[in-house]
Symmetry: C2
Amino acid sequence: MEYVTGVRTKETLEIKELLAEEMQGRTVKINGAVHAIRDMGNIAFVIVRKRDGLIQCVYEEKNSKFDLKDLREAFTVEVTGTLSKADKAPNGIEIRIREIKVLSVPAEALPLPISKWKLKTSLDAKLNYRPISLRNLRERAKFKLQEGIVRGFRDFLYQEGFTEIHTPKIGAKSAEGGANLFKLDYFHRPAILQQSPQFYKQMMVGVYDRVFETAPVFRAEKHNTRRHLNEYTSLDFEMGYIDGFEDIMAMETGFLQYTMKLLETDYAKELQILGITLPRTDVIPAVRFDEIKRLASEKYGRAMKNPFDLEPEEELSISRYAKEEWDADFVFVTHYPSKKRPFYAMDDPADPRFTLSFDLLFRGMEITTGGQRIHDYQKLLEKMEARDMTTEGMEQYLSAFKYGMPPHGGLGIGMERLTMKLVGEDNVRETTLFPRDLSRLEP
Amino acid sequence: MEYVTGVRTKETLEIKELLAEEMQGRTVKINGAVHAIRDMGNIAFVIVRKRDGLIQCVYEEKNSKFDLKDLREAFTVEVTGTLSKADKAPNGIEIRIREIKVLSVPAEALPLPISKWKLKTSLDAKLNYRPISLRNLRERAKFKLQEGIVRGFRDFLYQEGFTEIHTPKIGAKSAEGGANLFKLDYFHRPAILQQSPQFYKQMMVGVYDRVFETAPVFRAEKHNTRRHLNEYTSLDFEMGYIDGFEDIMAMETGFLQYTMKLLETDYAKELQILGITLPRTDVIPAVRFDEIKRLASEKYGRAMKNPFDLEPEEELSISRYAKEEWDADFVFVTHYPSKKRPFYAMDDPADPRFTLSFDLLFRGMEITTGGQRIHDYQKLLEKMEARDMTTEGMEQYLSAFKYGMPPHGGLGIGMERLTMKLVGEDNVRETTLFPRDLSRLEP
């Protein structure tokens, strides 16, 4: 028997540790993957990739006790050598190699030029070789920023008194949204994959007042576009005791403000690698659905096709309008038509053709749907009846309302879309680690 | 158009704000759900439930401008009144009610006595009425602690340089573990639900060196026991550049140490509500599989049935042994037999019948499986061949190794089981928000 006492201190150092002034001139040990080798004749640069960046290691025939020919890209290694400053090297430091210990050897040469600054490869090639293409610094930086977004979402909501929940993804078939559900066999019973944690997070408002979840959702939609995925990560929250759906927009604005600040401080390196300018979040305009449709249509001279729906190209022109008129990257579009919203959306008492709900558009694309929900049991039953819906399979959801629920509302944010628009990509697959779409089920 | 500027300050106060010394004697406004009403004749106590606890509100006929009969349990309300100290009340404060504004009214009386300190109801009743039973303070405290566990996992790993990833739950059929997979139709192609993010997190070690994920996993196992679920939340990490599987155990110990401290500081209220004594995590014994089996069998006089497997009752006696001999709540059992581990587990070069792997037992139950993985492409192929496995459908997983991977390992922790053992429950459904088992698909 031996005792395990906690995280072990390692001899190998990380970039942050190497940057300390007193380390210069010392013998240090690092590990990482050989990202690139640049042979200049007498000397060579062996660029080592670590999780927090690159380190330039200098091979010199007289000093380095190994043959450069024995080293190739994608080897993982442990390098021992002398640390010194080097203005032109990444992070301003380099290591003059004394010894290299090889930890692992690849079986084949890399299929993609991952050490290039920009990986100029087709999206398909990138996705087919996902575990390799992500080794490119710019590719992996996108998903590091994605981490920051989700982290910001959680940390901000903890701070605002929300409780994190974990709700099931397999469920019984219910009345809502049958067409877009993936179906599976659950021990000889028909089951579905949840397209949203909507019902669960609402039920949990009766328990914790404010809840959130960051988890996968599944949509069997047959869209094959740049903006649709059949599985994505949804950032969901739901909060009780609201005065109106404006409280939900205010909370989302708070999240965006918090997160942009977090990215600025903790993810500055990735922002710099990708050359990203963060969007404005100090104020976000909120404008009615019918009003902004009219404004954008007048300004850009396009006729509205359908006063009760929003086409993707209208989202673009609304965002353009918000940018030109209000210098806004984000814009809330409020009061969506009732018939385009689910049964649980609360209608506007002033005009029940519209709901107390909103979408958030970011640089031309919807990234959030949210709003106030019906919290009264009778009103919920009436709305379902008006829509010819059955309550079968929804007994437990409805029971939360039967036994009392506060006024509440919430939203869902598409993590991949928000990342996509933040990093300036035009296909959501670029910011999805392993996308699932009509044709892609692997890797 | 209006501008949204961020989170709004509300007139209604939270418990933390009410506890400030200067607030005593002032008129305050709060909101919440009526948890219980205790009518004493002239006065009555209206106990209001908020997300962070209970507030005692005092109804007095002469002072309170409403009729007590108009109020019932499970109403949600906004209370205005005078704040004062009250030694016997929750949090040591109470509000003498002046006005009550009713926000919502339940349609029926509560089906469970949720305001009782202990909800003495069958597990089935609790689960059938999940959105209601969780309104009980003790029931909801369990899941608040669960939040703390997951939060501790993430925060500790961020600090240790891990990157959070989001991997797909729908996948193509592959060679591994076919029997325990849920199958679904994915646009007329056969697909499965992932039983673990194992392959994805390994692939991502080649990108970020250290990664983690907290997400649902799906197992179509036909076990109907107190410890099995068909969907659960797995806390997974995987780390590269390890010197051995001991590094994984060290990291897990670090996580447990960090998290117990976090629970002590940020979740003290919940620990107190549930009367929990936190387990020891300063040192955790690690002992070989064959050795601890022998030790426990000798001490408790039970014959070993199978030297290559561990029965649930053996887990109990090993934990008992660890407690009695080493005063340990946790115990690592190392070097599991190779034939009981998946193909990617690294065999012990000293004795390939065993692997460089471990389980962590906590108070009699396995809550973690982890170990070092094979990182060499050829060795991985050989092991698969030795097991008569096809590489079909695993090309992309294997390609990560073909193009170089560092020595690495990782683990998966069952969130619900860890919570269960922490709070002292004996059925994992007690610490699963909405469990999925052989018979339960709702709510």
